[in-house]
């Protein structure tokens, strides 16, 4: 409940309603909403991985059917869009990590870049590992 200081019987302060499209008021709000919405793409990839595992368990035919669907133009477009959304999701979250994580060394707080960089290094290493397993197999 918001506290409003007004004299009983006196003039009431005006409370401005928050518009439904409040998030269009600034570029920062739009970016925030976009960042939040990209979690749907993250969810999609998680679901897709589960579907792949399920198809793998069901047998070669089910897996081949899923692979065939993944090669359709619609699935390709969906995957490209979702990949772009996930990259945006990842980069925006990596970049705000220094706000949440404070590391002090020798009594001094480490600069933002020192907190952000390990995220990208980890991302690159894991991507290379996955690529090595997938492409090497």
């Amino acid at each position: 409940m918001r506290t409003i200081d007004s004299t009983p019987g006196g003039p009431k302060p005006y409370v401005t309603p928050v518009p439904r499209l409040w998030w269009t008021a600034s570029a920062g709000y739009v970016l925030f909403v976009l960042r939040e919405m990209t979690c749907v793409a993250v969810g999609y990839f998680a679901l897709l991985t589960l579907c792949q595992m399920s198809a793998l368990i069901s047998g070669p035919e089910a897996y081949a059917a899923l692979q065939a669907w993944l090669k359709t133009p619609l699935a390709t477009l969906l995957n490209v869009l979702c990949l772009a959304a996930v990259v945006f999701h990842t980069v925006t979250w990596f970049n705000v990590t220094p706000r949440a994580v404070v590391v002090r060394m020798g009594g001094k707080r480490l600069p933002d870049s020192a907190i952000i960089a390990p995220n990208y290094v980890g991302w690159a290493v894991i991507t290379c590992l996955v690529a090595w397993v997938v492409l090497g197999a």
Partner: protein
């Protein structure tokens, strides 16, 4: 005639108006004038009925916060030339009830600020003769940034969560709570937790991050909130695996 710029100022007279309206004023566009100077010009020369708050004119008192072209700023630090050729839209701080013209009701912030006990809490005060509570420069450095807050409430006007959720404690109050939580002399962490570790405390924050962007004192309230979330989660986890150790 010298150059001028138009101010589009929100007007609201609670005795006569049912809702705010906008009134335009033509003011001199001078290199060294800020929006606050222009408002003072309006009040002195054009319309004495305009109400707005100000005091120090140097970014210290935190009383002249307003929305300038939709962004919460200290009007004493917003140079007119940066908004040329105008017009410049001057509105009261967003999400606060408007008392009159550009003056808003800050009692909600004051109430919430008090709830987080923004002072040094000691379980037991030591006698004066035992001397001061000593602190090293490193200990001071952990919270100094959060202590720079001037209570200008620009961060509240930048925070959509505060606009949408009336109960949200808000950025500055949480940053100030963290300022004391991280102070080596303070013992009030647990008592502040009742207010902070709640849905309407830190967990209400969705990390929009605009509070940090608009802060004129680089306090980083968004950082304070996320750091508190991590600290509470660590405490919760510790208390789960080692009951009694998470205090």
């Amino acid at each position: 005639m010298s150059e001028t710029i138009t101010l589009e100022v929100t007007r609201y007279q609670p005795d006569t108006d049912s809702e705010p309206s906008t009134k335009s004023y033509e003011v001199p566009l001078k290199d060294d004038w800020v929006v606050l100077d222009a408002l003072n010009y309006v009040k002195d020369e054009l319309d004495g009925s305009l109400a707005f708050r100000w005091s120090c004119r140097m970014g210290v008192c935190g009383s002249c916060g307003m929305m300038v072209n939709g962004v919460p700023v200290l009007s004493c630090a917003a140079f007119l030339k940066n908004y040329a050729p105008g017009p410049i839209k001057v509105e009261p701080l967003r999400y606060f009830p408007i008392v009159r013209d550009l003056c808003v009701d800050l009692s909600d912030f004051m109430t919430k600020l008090k709830k987080v006990e923004p002072w040094i809490v000691r379980e037991k005060e030591k006698p004066v003769e035992e001397g001061e509570y000593l602190q090293t420069p490193e200990q001071l450095d952990t919270f100094k940034q959060f202590s720079m807050c001037i209570n200008c409430t620009l961060c509240y006007s930048a925070c959509p969560v505060y606009g949408l959720d009336e109960g949200f404690i808000g950025p500055a109050a949480i940053a100030l709570a963290q300022r004391y939580n991280m102070d080596s002399r303070d013992e009030g962490n647990e008592s502040r937790m009742d207010t902070l570790a709640q849905d309407e405390g830190v967990w209400g924050c969705t990390f929009v991050g605009e509070c940090t962007k608009v802060c004129p004192k680089h306090v980083d309230p968004a950082g304070a909130i996320q750091q508190y979330k991590i600290a509470t989660t660590e405490n919760w986890f510790k208390s789960l695996v080692m009951p009694g150790a998470g205090k």
